[in-house]
């Protein structure tokens, strides 16, 4: 049984989706989704423990031995990302019932659940697969599902946002597949481990370089690498609450995982970082994202868009570690996949509650006035998650910042240190705008918290922000193992 877990991880949500469509009952859909999400978390945890004790292992799908068959491979990095995705899912699923019921008509709710399950299956599949083309398939499954998730938003702009995301996402996927095609042309294999072996010594071939460029831009689009991020703010802003929370916490993170996988285990990192300007490119783009996107967030009036911009900035933190290319920096990056996941997840889950109670389709910063009195627990949770976003000690965000700064000092890149600090000061400014509105300005309305289920999920995730700030055996230990794993493959 245990050896089939990698496959089960993907198959469960994949099978749940058509069942939900067949049943069409929102109640069944919710139960199935929740059960699947929890099952995925259990499986991911089992896989992670197994990797931690026994090391990486692979699973031949349908018993076709790799490199001919599709290989599923679980190692320190993929186990970490699996846990991060499944953890988010296990908070979003119980939250979904009230949130979806409030935002969608009863006859379309099952669609939302089905798409959510498909998206989850795709994300887990991307993480677990060891095959470049299979990865593309899962990338498309998760992307197509997320286009629908976004398009189900209540406002009409959701359609435009989903359409733009679809255009950009398709371009990204196409670029990726072009890159993989070029690699196949050169090596004749699609298995990632096999690719890595056969690419040694031919890294300087033009098709390989072109493949690298196509894959970088393709995956860069999916992970909203600055300046390929333009699809993201609207997509997050207009999607249904639950979809925003789920996608913000997982989708871009899994794409970062793909990039890490290609950069450190498929291509030769020595060639990539020493002979090509990869380090400079990533440092420059990351710092630009951290500063400029944070500044946009300072001026943004719509709260969900504000945090979407903050996401672009935080993805800058994540890609910064790639540019630093040392153990501390990569640990920071990988830990931030989880840290930022729980932080943004908490924020968007709580904002969903605010939107539900305010009844308006969009929440402006001004409309948060008096939130501290109207919804004290929600406001408190938002403050906690906001502190984590800034990186105050005792929160998950601080852990990330600590490692990134260690990494930057190790590289003696003092301007990067300055940029990290400047970016967190700007984060203070935009988080402060919310605190000011919620606690200092008088608002109208009586005291009414979000529905218990939604509130509990949001607060629990905000609690995780603090938990991961103090007890780092999951986020840091896992990320540190993954970083060692990546660098071991490298040098």
């Amino acid at each position: 049984m245990v050896e089939h877990l990698p496959a089960l991880q993907v198959v469960l949500p994949l099978v749940a989706a058509p069942l939900i469509v067949l049943a069409r009952s929102p109640r069944f859909a919710w139960l199935a989704t929740t059960a699947v999400s929890y099952a995925c978390l259990v499986i991911a945890a089992l896989l992670a423990t197994r990797v931690a004790t026994l090391g990486a292992f692979s699973y031949a799908l349908g018993s076709w031995a790799p490199p001919w068959g599709i290989e599923y491979r679980v190692d320190a990095l993929s186990a970490f990302v699996l846990v991060a995705v499944a953890l988010t899912a296990s908070f979003v699923a119980p939250y979904a019932r009230r949130s979806i019921a409030a935002e969608l008509d009863a006859d379309r709710q099952y669609l939302m659940y089905a798409m959510y399950c498909l998206c989850l299956a795709g994300l887990l599949g991307i993480t677990v697969t060891g095959d470049a083309f299979n990865l593309f398939v899962f990338l498309e499954i998760s992307s197509l599902a997320s286009y629908v998730l976004i398009a189900l938003g209540r406002r009409r702009q959701a359609l435009v946002a989903a359409f733009q995301y679809m255009l950009m996402g398709t371009v990204g996927a196409t670029f990726y597949v072009i890159g993989v095609g070029l690699l196949y042309l050169v090596t004749g294999t699609l298995n990632l481990a096999d690719l890595a072996e056969r690419l040694r010594g031919v890294e300087d071939l033009r098709p390989v370089l072109a493949a690298l460029a196509f894959i970088t831009v393709g995956i860069g689009l999916k992970l909203a690498l600055f300046p390929l991020h333009q699809w993201l703010p609207n997509a997050y802003a207009y999607a249904p609450s639950m979809a925003t929370a789920f996608l913000a916490a997982t989708a871009t993170k899994v794409s970062v995982y793909v990039l890490l996988r290609f950069y450190f285990t498929v291509f030769d990192p020595a060639a990539l970082f020493d002979r090509l300007p990869t380090r400079e490119t990533f440092l420059a783009l990351s710092v630009a994202a951290m500063i400029l996107a944070s500044l946009v967030a300072v001026f943004e009036r719509e709260v969900k868009r504000l945090f979407a911009w903050s996401s672009v900035a935080q993805i800058g933190y994540i890609t910064l570690g790639i540019g630093l290319e040392n153990h501390a920096g990569l640990t920071g990056s990988i830990a931030h996949l989880l840290n930022h996941g729980v932080t943004k997840g908490a924020i968007f889950l709580l904002l969903g509650g605010v939107a539900l109670r305010s009844g308006a389709a969009s929440i402006s910063v001004g409309s948060l006035a008096g939130l501290g009195r109207r919804m004290p627990l929600t406001a408190f949770g938002l403050v906690i998650a906001g502190l984590s976003l800034i990186g105050v000690p005792g929160t998950a965000g601080f852990v990330t910042k600590w490692f990134l700064i260690l990494g930057a000092i190790e590289r003696e890149a003092w301007w990067v240190v300055g940029a990290i600090l400047a970016s967190s000061l700007i984060a203070v400014a935009y988080v402060w705008r919310l605190v000011e509105a919620a606690y200092l300005r008088a608002g109208q309305g009586t005291r009414r918290e979000a529905p218990a289920g939604m509130l509990a999920a949001g607060l629990a995730m905000a609690g995780l922000c603090v938990y991961f700030g103090f007890f780092t055996s999951i986020n840091v230990a896992g990320a540190s193992d993954a970083a060692s794993f990546l660098l071991r493959g490298a040098r």
Binding site: W231, F299, I409
Partner: protein
């Protein structure tokens, strides 16, 4: 010893309770928690009481020795006196924030490693900002924002410094550091920001006087004195600190003499007094370090007393400016008397606490044959008497009759003032317990004929000078420019963070620097503001073009390199 015997945690736990409790139970918690903390602090044993691992580092979040015990004791005592004084403060947030702030300050003193210091440092910044904030006036709100920004920047310096220190040495232990590289320079700079060292001192007189009548009592006690503690532990005998300290001493005197607002006078006087301590730390002999530690102890008590008396006046009259006050001794005799005791203590009058502590620093300078330093400290002592010893009580309680007839404040405020006044005089007479608390064995007798006569002469002549020069010192309504102008007026224009408020500031200003800043700010607004090039939704075609551009750039860079 376990975590439950950490005095700071008791205060922080009480802070959580105070935020929700009302009525009698609130008063009980507010008074009992600092007493528990005081008992625990008094009974602290030397050694590391708790070890923890965090991010692969060995931490000692709870450790104690004689120095940390001294500061933990005085901080707990101060929390009690402050809570007693603030019992009738209607804003509930303030006391809770003050306890968080005090608890974090104790956390710094009991931190055996730099990471814990940093964490508590940040909590202090948040706690103190909330104290300021709870004054709930627009001026206090703006001041709290500036205050927070300064302290966040200071925290950042500390953060990088600690990170670099850990990378360099591989240990987090909080030990004396030499000034030997960027890591320790950054840590020192961060400590000096909180100490209010000139020219980084402007935040202090900018922010503190905007706090409520009770809030400033707390603010005066913890931030600068925690900085003194970390300097004592981290940088004893670092010579530049002598000059930094002397600069602070004279900066404080000059600005306090020019100032009209009674609480700003006392704020400048904090900088001045901390300057004495920093000078002592720079001298670095056992006598000097003892003196700095003892002076921190006594200064917390008499400065709090002075601020309580000023706070009582503010509470009763709602006025802060010397020109609007005067003659209050008739109806507020107890407040006036306590204010005078505090004023005598800050002037190091014999038989007050200031005398037994400050004279140690001067003595240490003399012992080290630092003649110029000794002379400057003596001159500064005279200056202290001028600005705080006479000026404050004279203009507030005597001078002219302002026509105000407020009564003395309620029982709890009176009790708090009497308690601190008793300490100020008690420690001046029975100084042995204080000397027993000091980190090094004390070989010093304060009451020698020479010390007493010299100090009395000094005070007599400066007192004479005050009344001779009264005509010039009589304050008019003025505003004094300080280096905080740089970030109060200039900096905001450049950074352009606060949209509309910024535009108003720009309209009000008009200097050339402002115009340059405006252009830069406008540029960022155009780029990042609503509908800015970055912020607006791009048409799909433009997005696609961007993608193609990125691909081309990458391909080119790969092919060319």
């Amino acid at each position: 010893m376990t975590l439950a015997s950490h005095p700071g945690l008791w205060l922080i736990a009480a802070a959580a309770l105070l935020a929700v409790l009302r009525g009698r139970s609130r008063a009980v918690v507010a008074l009992a928690a600092p007493l528990v903390a005081l008992t625990l602090a008094w009974r602290l044993e030397a050694g590391v009481h708790l070890r923890a691992g965090f991010l692969g580092m060995e931490l000692a979040p709870f450790a104690a020795d004689a120095l940390s015990r001294l500061f933990a004791v005085i901080f707990s005592l101060m929390a009690f006196a402050g809570a007693l004084f603030a019992l009738n403060q209607p804003r509930r947030l303030e006391l809770a924030a003050a306890f968080l702030y005090a608890g974090a300050a104790i956390g710094v003193t009991l931190a055996g490693d730099l990471v814990t210091v940093f964490v508590c440092w940040e909590v202090m910044a948040i706690g103190s900002t909330l104290v300021l904030w709870s004054a709930a006036t627009p001026a206090a709100y703006r001041a709290s924002m500036r205050y927070l920004m300064v302290h966040l920047c200071g925290g950042m310096l500390l953060f990088i410094g600690v990170a670099a220190h850990v990378l360099q040495t591989g240990t987090t232990a909080f030990q004396p550091m030499a000034l030997d590289g960027p890591a320790h320079a950054l840590i020192l700079a961060a400590f000096l920001v909180n100490a209010g060292a000139w020219p980084l001192s402007a935040w202090l007189p900018d922010a503190y006087p905007e706090a409520s009548w009770s809030g400033m009592v707390f603010l005066s006690a913890f931030t600068t004195k925690t900085a003194v503690y970390v300097l004592l532990r981290g940088f004893p005998g670092t010579e530049p600190l002598i000059y930094v300290g002397l600069a602070m001493v004279f900066y404080g005197i000059v600005y306090a003499l020019l100032e009209n607002d009674m609480r700003r006078i006392l704020a400048y006087s904090i900088v001045n007094q901390v300057g004495f301590m920093v000078t002592g730390i720079g001298i670095g002999t056992e006598m000097a370090l003892n003196g700095a530690a003892a002076h921190a102890f006594t200064h917390i008590l008499y400065k709090a007393l002075l601020l309580m008396s000023a706070g009582a006046v503010l509470y009763a009259t709602g006025r802060r400016k010397c020109t609007e006050l005067g003659g209050l001794f008739r109806t507020m005799p107890l407040t006036a008397a306590c204010g005078i005791v505090g004023a005598l203590a800050i002037s190091s009058f014999p038989l007050t606490s200031g005398f037994v502590s400050k004279s140690m620093i001067a003595q240490a300078a003399g012992d080290e044959h630092l003649f110029v330093v000794w002379l400057l400290l003596a001159a500064a002592s005279a200056g202290v008497f001028l600005h705080a010893g006479i000026k404050f009580p004279w203009f507030v309680f005597f001078q002219k009759d302002s026509g105000l007839r407020p009564p003395d404040p309620g029982w709890n405020m009176r009790a708090a003032m009497v308690l601190l006044a008793a300490f100020c005089i008690g420690l001046g007479i029975w100084y042995e317990p204080l000397y027993g608390l000091l980190p090094y064995p004390v070989d010093y007798a304060p009451y020698t004929g020479f010390h007493v006569v010299a100090q009395l002469q000094l005070l007599l002549f400066s007192g004479l000078a005050f009344f001779v020069m009264l005509g010039w010192l009589r304050r008019t309504l003025t505003i004094t420019l300080d280096t905080d102008w740089l970030y109060r007026a200039l900096f905001p224009r450049v950074v352009a963070l606060y949209g509309a408020a910024l535009e108003r500031a720009l309209a009000a200003g008009g200097a050339r620097a402002a115009r340059a800043g405006e252009r830069l700010g406008a540029y960022f607004r155009r780029l990042c503001g609503p509908q800015g090039a970055l912020a607006r939704t791009w048409p799909a075609g433009a997005m696609g073009l961007g993608v193609m551009g990125m691909l081309l750039a990458l391909l080119l860079s790969y092919y060319l390199f």
